[in-house]
Symmetry: C2
Subunit: 282 residues, 2 copies
C-alpha cells in the first residue's frame, strides 16, 4: 500500500515541486496528493486520512507561514519528520502572443517577493491574489492571449498549462528560500532518520519580567544552540505568546533533555515536536 503525502495543490505549486525533489531522494517515494488549502492539508494528516504532508513553515523574504505554526501549536498528534530548505524560483509566465501584461495573478507570498520587479516593469498591471501559484497558471491558461493576463508561478506550473516565460527569476532578492516541514502523526514514521534539529513549542507567562530570558538561559548554559525563535499569539489575551524554538541537535542527549525539562518547568505548557534531519538542495 502506498504512503500518501499531502501537498498544497494543484499540480505545479512550489510545495509539489519540493515534495517531488524529496521523493527522488527516498527509497520508498510517497504518493503525492494535492490539497487545495494548507490548513486542510494538515487536518487530513491529523485526522488520519493522509499519512504525512509537506508544508511550508517559513520564507526567507516574507517570514513565517502563520497557519502552519498555529496548527502545529494546537495539534496534540502532529510531529515533524523532516525539514527541507527549498530555493524558490519565480517566473512571470503568459500565453504566447500576450504582448501587454495588464493583470498578474499569483499567491500573496510570491506577489510580496516580486513587489519591486512588478512596480518597476508593470506599474499599471492589476495584481490579483489567488490560492496558489499553480491556480494562477490555470486561470491565465483559461483566458485568451489578448487578455494580457500573466501568472507568477513555477516553471513547471507554467509548462503544465502551456504558458511561456516572460521573465525568469523575478523575485526581489536572490536569497529566496522556503523551509518546509514534513509532518506526520506521532509514532507513525521511520525512527532511524538522522538527528539534526529539534522543534520545541511552549507558552511562557509573558507577564513575568525576564521570563523569556530565563527560558533561553536553560538552553545557553547547556551549550544548546537555538537557530530560530518565532512567537505567535496565544489567543487568550493581548501580550500572551506561544514560542517556537528551533534547536540544533547535539549528541549530548542528556544536556538536551535536561534543558527541555527545565524549560517545561518554566512554561505554562510545552510540546516537543520531534528530532529530525534537514535536507538542502544542491
Amino acid at each position: 500500500m502506498s504512503i500518501k503525502m499531502g501537498v498544497l495543490g494543484p499540480k505545479g505549486t512550489h510545495s509539489e515541486a519540493a515534495a517531488s525533489y524529496l521523493n527522488e531522494r527516498l527509497d520508498t517515494p510517497y504518493e503525492l496528493v494535492t490539497v487545495p488549502d494548507l490548513f486542510e492539508c494538515l487536518q487530513e494528516v491529523d485526522e488520519g486520512r493522509l499519512d504525512t504532508a509537506l508544508v511550508p513553515v517559513e520564507n526567507s523574504l516574507e517570514g513565517a507561514i502563520n497557519i502552519t505554526l498555529d496548527t502545529l501549536a494546537r495539534s496534540e498528534t502532529l510531529e515533524v519528520a523532516r525539514e527541507l530548505i527549498w530555493p524558490v524560483h519565480n517566473q512571470l509566465m503568459a500565453k504566447c502572443g500576450a504582448e501587454t501584461i495588464r493583470r498578474v495573478y499569483s499567491h500573496p507570498q510570491p506577489i510580496s517577493q516580486c513587489r519591486a520587479y512588478l512596480q518597476q516593469h508593470y506599474p499599471q498591471a492589476e495584481i490579483v491574489k489567488v490560492s496558489s501559484t499553480a491556480r494562477a497558471a490555470e486561470l491565465v491558461a483559461a483566458e485568451s492571449a489578448s487578455s494580457g493576463w500573466a501568472a507568477i508561478c513555477t516553471a513547471r506550473a507554467g509548462e503544465l498549462n502551456g504558458l511561456h516565460t516572460v521573465a525568469a527569476e523575478i523575485q526581489d532578492n536572490m536569497a529566496n528560500c522556503t523551509r518546509f516541514f514534513q509532518v506526520r502523526r506521532r509514532g507513525t514514521g521511520n525512527p532511524v532518520l538522522p538527528k539534526e534539529k529539534v522543534l520545541i513549542i511552549c507558552q511562557i507567562d509573558g507577564q513575568k519580567a525576564g521570563a523569556l530570558y530565563d527560558v533561553l538561559k536553560e538552553f545557553a548554559e547547556r551549550g544548546i544552540n537555538m537557530t530560530r525563535i518565532e512567537s505567535r499569539p496565544a489567543r487568550t489575551e493581548l501580550g500572551a505568546y506561544i514560542f517556537f524554538f528551533d534547536l540544533e541537535y547535539t549528541p549530548d542527549e542528556q544536556a538536551l533533555q535536561e534543558s527541555i525539562e527545565a524549560v517545561a518547568k518554566k512554561s505554562i505548557w510545552l510540546k516537543n515536536l520531534g528530532t529530525f534531519p534537514v535536507y538542502t538542495v544542491e
Copy 2:
C-alpha cells in the same frame, strides 16, 4: 494649520474608529485623512505629505501586522509617538431584508478572527477578502438585499452604509484587541508626552550560538523588562532575522541607556524608535 493624521480608509475602519477615540483625548485633535493602503499610509508620513499616522501593529488573535513592522524596520525617519490598545468589535452586517447570507465580505484579519463563527453559522457562504472592513460594507451596500451579501465590519462602517446588524460580537474570542502605533518623523512631535514604553529594532548575527540570549542578558541584568519580542526576516538570507523588542520604560534612564548601548554593540545595526505613552480604552 491643522495637523494631518493618516489612517487606513475608507471611513468606518477599525483604524479610523481608533483614531477618533484618540482624537477625543487630545487638546488639539488631528485632521484624519484616510489612505487606502497601510504601506502607502506609512510612506506618506515618511516622505512628509502627512504629519503622522495611526497604524495597527499587532492583533491579539492574529499576531503581528508584518507590513507595519517591515516598514518601521526599514525607515530611517519614522519613530513611535504613542501606542493605543483598541478592543475590536466585529459585527456581521447586511441590508434590511437580506434573509439568506450567501457571501461574506471582509478584510483577511477579521475573517480569521471570525472563522469559527462563520463555519458554525454560515458554512455554505462564500468568503471574499477585500482591502478593509469599511470597503466590505460599501460593497454590500451597493448590492440589493436579495443578493444575500453581508460584511464583517465595525458598527460605524455598517451604519455609514445603511446596513443593519445580523449578529454582534462574532469574533471567536472575546479577548480581541489591536495595538496601534502612532508614528511620525523623528523630531516633529511633542517631546513632553509621558514615558511608558521603548521600541528597539535590531539585527543580530543569527549564525552565532546564543546570540539572542546574549542580547536579552543586557536587558535582564539591568532589570529592564521586555514585554514583547517579535522577529521578521532580514531579507538577506534564510536564518537572518530582525528583532523588535518592546521594553517597559524605567525612570532609571542610565540603566536603560546602558542596556541599549550594550545591545547595539552586539548587533549588526540597532534603531531606537522612541519612548512613548500607552493609551487604553476604558
